[in-house]
């Protein structure tokens, strides 16, 4: 019945990696994900894993080595944050278009300009068009669970795409919480062996990766990537179910928290969902019909399912821990509003940009959003749909 422990989010990821015992891990340290390669290198030094740990000289080389390794036929993992993911940006696209199921632990941190080391989703949101599957995690348990599931999702023959498993820098990466680990044998059996169909070290058949692709072919290749991303949806659901049967913790595209009869709702991802649940519980006790949609899968975007889950609410706030500078709201907001548009009676929608660069988000902030939504539901003019939460104006 699992192994009870107390671990930080980084330790949880490192433990998942140890249990999986990947073939290769190229990594370069960056706050706040540094601890992941640190813990892992200790496992290597102690002989607890037999992974090739490649101490590259940059994140660009980390992702490049991941691509070379995965293409060669080895199960490959890495971890990074912020500027590290930004430095990988160019080669993230290469990994996805080469259909290489690399698994990356992304510990979300603000991008530099000015430099800031705290939680913010600017890094992974900047990679949202790269062709990677993106899974977000509320807490340490979810980071661990999601990381284990990532291999089954990415490596599935109908998918063959890289996966990044995100969690909030410091808030969950360094916050120590109770966690239930799964027995290593069960993890190994769940993840299984990596047996790619085509790989460079196959002695019976060579393969060439990374062609020059003319306009005659490029578009079809992009379309094939899209089909793989669409296929991922079914795989994510079946893996989430199978994982639940093993662990008792079932996973879907998102968690609908007290949403069934809710009149207003918040959509948010990662750790703030935990704070929001407390607010939902408290306001429910006051008889207020508030709910939460905690988005777990951002790529592929489960649009139809989100629209169905929100079809009966009257007002929705979408919280973005990232400023995309579109000037019309955050990126999660834009996509959620897009899918709500097709509903016969779409709810009112408000974009809240919050928590940039690790700005604290407290229950009173979330409560203020729910109160605003309830007022809009009761007929108050919606007003400005693009708002900042907790900022000094």
């Amino acid at each position: 019945m699992g192994i009870r422990d107390r671990l930080s989010g980084n330790e949880a990821i490192a433990n998942a990696m140890k249990q999986i015992n990947p073939d290769v891990m190229p990594a370069f340290p960056i706050t706040p994900s540094t601890e992941i390669p640190q813990y892992f290198s200790q496992f290597v030094a102690n002989g607890e894993v037999d992974t090739e740990f490649v101490t590259v000289e940059s994140e660009h080389s980390a992702m490049s080595a991941c691509i070379g390794s995965e293409a060669a036929g080895a199960r490959t993992v890495t971890a990074t944050s912020s500027a590290g993911l930004a430095l990988m940006h160019e080669v993230l696209y290469v990994a996805a278009s080469s259909r290489l199921p690399i698994t990356l632990a992304c510990v979300n941190r603000a991008l530099t300009g000015p430099i800031n080391i705290n939680a913010d989703h600017g890094d992974s949101m900047g990679a949202r068009d790269s062709g990677w599957i993106q899974i977000y995690s509320e807490n340490n348990q979810e980071a661990y669970d999601n990381f284990i599931q990532a291999f089954r999702i990415g490596e599935h023959p109908d998918v063959q795409l890289p996966v990044m498993v995100c969690q909030d820098g410091f808030i969950t990466s360094h916050g120590v919480e109770n966690i239930e680990l799964i027995e290593t044998e069960k993890v190994k059996n769940f993840v299984g062996d990596y047996c790619p169909e085509n790989y460079m070290l196959n002695p019976n058949e060579t393969i060439a990766h990374g062609p020059y692709d003319s306009p005659v072919y490029y578009m079809e290749h992009k379309r094939q990537q899209l089909e793989a991303m669409k296929n991922a949806k079914e795989v994510i659901l079946s893996v989430g179910k199978e994982f639940g049967e093993m662990s008792g913790r079932f996973y879907d595209f998102f968690e609908a928290y007290k949403l069934e009869d809710a009149e207003v709702a918040i959509v948010v991802l990662n750790s703030t969902a935990g704070t929001a649940k407390d607010v939902v519980d408290a306001m429910r006790e006051e008889g207020k019909k508030v709910g939460l949609l905690k988005l777990r899968i951002f790529r592929p975007f489960p649009g139809e399912e989100i629209a169905q889950a929100l079809k009966n609410v009257k007002a929705v706030a979408v919280m973005d821990r990232h400023e995309g500078f579109s000037t019309i709201g955050g990126p999660v907001f834009s996509e959620v509003r897009t899918v709500l548009y097709d509903l016969p009676n779409p709810p009112k929608t408000i974009s809240y940009v919050y928590g940039l660069g690790g700005r604290d988000v407290r229950t009173i902030h979330i409560e203020s959003i729910y109160n605003e939504l309830l007022a809009v539901k009761d007929g108050k003019d919606q007003g400005e749909a693009y708002r900042y939460l907790g900022v000094r104006e």
């Binding site: 980390a62 002695p203 990766h209």
Partner: protein
Amino acid sequence: MAYQFKDVMNKPERLTGGHRMCAGCGAPLAVRGVMRALKEDDKAVVGVATGCLEVSTFTYPYVAFKDSFIHTAFENAAATVSGAEAAYNALKRKNKIDETYKFITFGGDGGTYDIGFQSLSGAMERGHDMVYVCYDNNAYMNTGIQRSSATPKYTDTTTTPAGKVVPGKQQFKKDLSEVMVSHEIPYVAQTTFIGNFKDLHEKAEKAIYTEGPAFMNVLAPCPRGWRYETEDLMEICKLAVDTCFWPLFEVINGEWKLSYKPKKKLPVEEYLRPQGRFKHLFKPGNEHLIEDIQNEVDRKWEALLKKCGEL
């Protein structure tokens, strides 16, 4: 075993014909020359940096390399192949693979001296068992002959044009071979295409079959960028060597060894004259530019002779 030109040339080609490199280009010669040094039973993973060689040998859906091949981007060929080598070690350790694989990376001077230098330095420092081969054609040829840090001084390129005031590139070439020697890797060699390709072959064999990282710098002329007649490729290489503009040497575990000493060191003009990229140097009044180049060639040659114990 002594070098047998006929036997080596009769080995099955690992880079097939039908690729789209220009006639008179040195890059495919470098690739074939290096790949011929592989034992026939040994398998290879070939990595190539973005550049002429990559786009001309792997234009979807055709690939000219018979071994497994990978291209990812411009600046990361060494890192990419280092990952493949790490995968090989991991799979060997787990008894998932029996065959012997060798890891060979090719990059032009842009992908090696400049944008890919960090990745190269990192891979060599980490000690991967791989060979990095730079085919140095002295400029960014794939994008249309822009200067690189490997471009010789006073060369006319499209970003260092010879103008009325500025006579081409203003800096001497970076000595990358020496920089790689400073990495204290087991094997570094500088070569080009001379005679029956013995020098290239023997160095490639040492580079591939020396355990650990090896670096080869191969001067690989480009007829479009250098503006010579395509049939003159071998002659241009010979002049580069006989003028000591591009000396041949190898450094084995830190020991410098001169590979070739011309019987008569030719004046550098002999090398510059047949190339359109140096045409402006032969205008009246520009004699001092050639003198400047000659002085630098002499200085570097003397220094090399000392390192090799020839003086």
